[in-house]
Symmetry: C2
Amino acid sequence: MKTPLIDNLQYANWSQTIFRQMRAGGVDAVHITIAYHESFREMVLNLEAFNRWFERFPELIFKGTCAADVRLAQSTGRTAIFFGFQNPSPIEDDIGLVEICHQLGVRFMQLTYNNQSLLATGCYEDDDTGLTRMGKQVVQEMNRVGMVVDMSHSADRSTLEAIEHSSRPIAITHANPHWWHPALRNKSDDVLKALTGRGGMLGFSVYPHHLKDGPACTLQSFCEMVAEAASRYGAEHLGIGTDLCQDQPDSIVEWMRVGRWSKMIDYGEGSATDAGFPPMPSWFQDNRDFGNISQGLLDVGFSEDEMDGIMGGNWFKFYDSSFGPET
Amino acid sequence: MKTPLIDNLQYANWSQTIFRQMRAGGVDAVHITIAYHESFREMVLNLEAFNRWFERFPELIFKGTCAADVRLAQSTGRTAIFFGFQNPSPIEDDIGLVEICHQLGVRFMQLTYNNQSLLATGCYEDDDTGLTRMGKQVVQEMNRVGMVVDMSHSADRSTLEAIEHSSRPIAITHANPHWWHPALRNKSDDVLKALTGRGGMLGFSVYPHHLKDGPACTLQSFCEMVAEAASRYGAEHLGIGTDLCQDQPDSIVEWMRVGRWSKMIDYGEGSATDAGFPPMPSWFQDNRDFGNISQGLLDVGFSEDEMDGIMGGNWFKFYDSSFGPET
């Protein structure tokens, strides 16, 4: 069977249109964000909403929980949807909710979303105190049940400690190297070396604030960055996590940034004059544009096999070894 | 493989001792009550507590979600634990929680626990208005996902309407015929005929308030009642649902009766002078005593096959056709 095409991070304003675009783009699996700042009960409401999508469009999408579901998606011409949290807020202060969320299908959880959490320090805090007491125990519990630690929005020390403390490889599902574009959200060479050195995965983001030259970033520049990352970390540890936030109103990016933790506006990666969602680069507008990235990777010298791995094969192997109980 | 032994209702004060008694008694599967009056979040705490039991005693018990798990229990010498609610309180006013609870492993839900609920009328209310608007839709949703409607604590009209409205057979998991012992919780001949006429199952209770002569009820009287029920309704629709509440303090039966819906004491099936849990009959004290019932059924004239069916084979078939999505 063909190597699957996997996008390991999207948070769109879901619609039949987007699900059809996934099919048109040949996307076999997508890891989608089901919670940012939600409590457990609020997150369950989001799961319920997705259950309605699954009920309404069974010919387009279904809930994925294991690597075999990616194969099922390929053989039935559908897209498997995997769930993840960008913040540990849904597990509240209750370690037992890790397993409950895993039973509900959640397969990735960020230990922080920009801020300090109960588990670790986010990348926007002044000081990073690493994994908390609860954080260490939650990582162990995530390892046990098969939920992937995601440090995309975490600060460096916390990320390094998560890599070290986790008995299983972890992920940075959506970020780029800091050496290419020095955004606060992009990751240092040390972090990426430690991550991939322990079998972890990096998903490259196409979100303009993570791109050199923002929305004007060229496909060639993006793909040359991927090539340099492959030479530093090994192509087998690389994948895609576009961070596509298609069709979201600007009120959503504000909510992502301030949730209910602040009474003030926080522009996050934006600014007062650039407060909303930035426009996506011309070569990646929606799920139908993955072919551009595939071709771009071939054009900068990747082999077909390497390109297939980066476009989904590497995430597929990672899913296969990550989502079941620890052995 | 041998016909499995299944008890389709217990609510014990769980302990290693009880799990070991299940093994000693050769009990392959037990449907246990995971919620009486709990909200969704509170019920999830109960699931978490059971996840800890599964983690601590994997050699004794595991979570069952389908009939194949009963076979797995038999082949690995363990007991499969199936979850159910005695009240729809965990789904709150949210029909989407039916599927979420099913995803968490819940396989039975009573539409009422003695009182009026959002879905139907309980057996202790003065007037029975049948299925509510939400009740009809929830039955349909339970049918869709594969969660069994249980009317053990419901009033007659509501029960008859649930049987009629449900597209799949329903259950009365723990009650006895009213013609044998006219307790408010026991079921009329009309209800039992309608239930079994549509393929539904009745689980016989050994809870003393449901027994003729209470704790003094003889095994012979109990088994003669089963024989009469078999002649009226067909042995293939009969099973066991002991309602064993082993090792529970009396505070629990008070909580079962009044939850937080009342500020007054309600003695339910008991009385001011008999307020606690009644003593169990001598021939059924715990999970090691199912052999007494099997022998008692043979002694009143059941064939080995009929006895095997009543002791678990009938529930096994019912599980097999009930727990998956509607086809």
